[in-house]
Symmetry: C2
Subunit: 154 residues, 2 copies
């Protein structure tokens, strides 16, 4: 069992300061459409980001276990909020990961890591909205990093 904590303190208007258990600190406000301003962290962004980061870190863990030759990885996540039951809530989250791998042989490994990450991400398993995974794979056209170093010496 693990416990994760945060503390928020109201500063003024609809603004506050957040301190997370791991030491991270930030100012926050609502998004501009709910009387906030551009720039600070918002609850909606933090929610979508928590799913995105958890999926990504799960993927990196499985990529290590599978000895995947991973060259680059990024992931966009869109959260769609709408009226539900009749309160507002997230209805759907779409993860768009993009992995760049070393060779053709890495593609099925990377697909397996995507599926495992989606299944075992602890935050993904803690949210109500449907989560959709739409991934892209690419093969790195350049040589492996070891060869690249030699090339540059020539």
């Amino acid at each position: 069992m693990y416990v994760y904590s945060s503390k928020v303190v109201w500063t003024e208007g609809r603004r506050g300061k957040l301190t997370c258990g791991n030491g991270f600190k930030a100012s926050f406000s609502p998004p501009p459409e709910f009387q906030g301003e551009p720039g600070p962290l918002t609850p909606e962004d933090a929610f979508v980001a928590s799913v995105n980061m958890s999926f990504t870190l799960s993927f990196l863990k499985f990529a290590e276990q599978e000895k995947l030759d991973l060259r680059a990885f990024e992931c966009n996540c869109n959260g769609i909020m709408d009226r539900v039951t009749p309160q507002m809530a997230f209805k759907r989250l779409v993860l768009h990961p993009r992995a760049v791998v070393g060779s053709d042989d890495d593609i099925p490994k990377a697909e397996r890591c995507m599926d495992l990450a989606e299944k075992f991400s602890s935050v993904r398993n803690s949210v109500r909205p449907k989560v959709v995974l739409e991934y892209k794979m690419e093969i790195d056209k350049k040589k492996a990093p070891d060869n690249k170093a030699k090339d540059s010496e020539e």
Copy 2:
């Protein structure tokens, strides 16, 4: 309907950079118990913080609507993660808000704002774990801000 987005980019090991739709940026890692380090944002902290911030901003919205004489507000949130189904997931979130109000008459108003905030928080309505609300109310012993200014001139 509203869409909230984030982008994460893998940097090295189990680390990455997060950019949120509202412009907020941060480095992230897993928590120390999962091969991360103290300091950065983590998915687990972001998840708990998203519920905490959403509840707090909902409370502040209802406090404005109810013309609550609110002097201070802070909220701790603890998320308990454990094995569920059999993956890891958050099982329970406990919100511990503390509101300081101007007079006895504000206590029932503040209680009403707490209950409304818990019911209408969009992020709270998007999470699976049970959410428990354990609030504390206090009355500000000092005079109202207008009187405080006069006092300091004496």
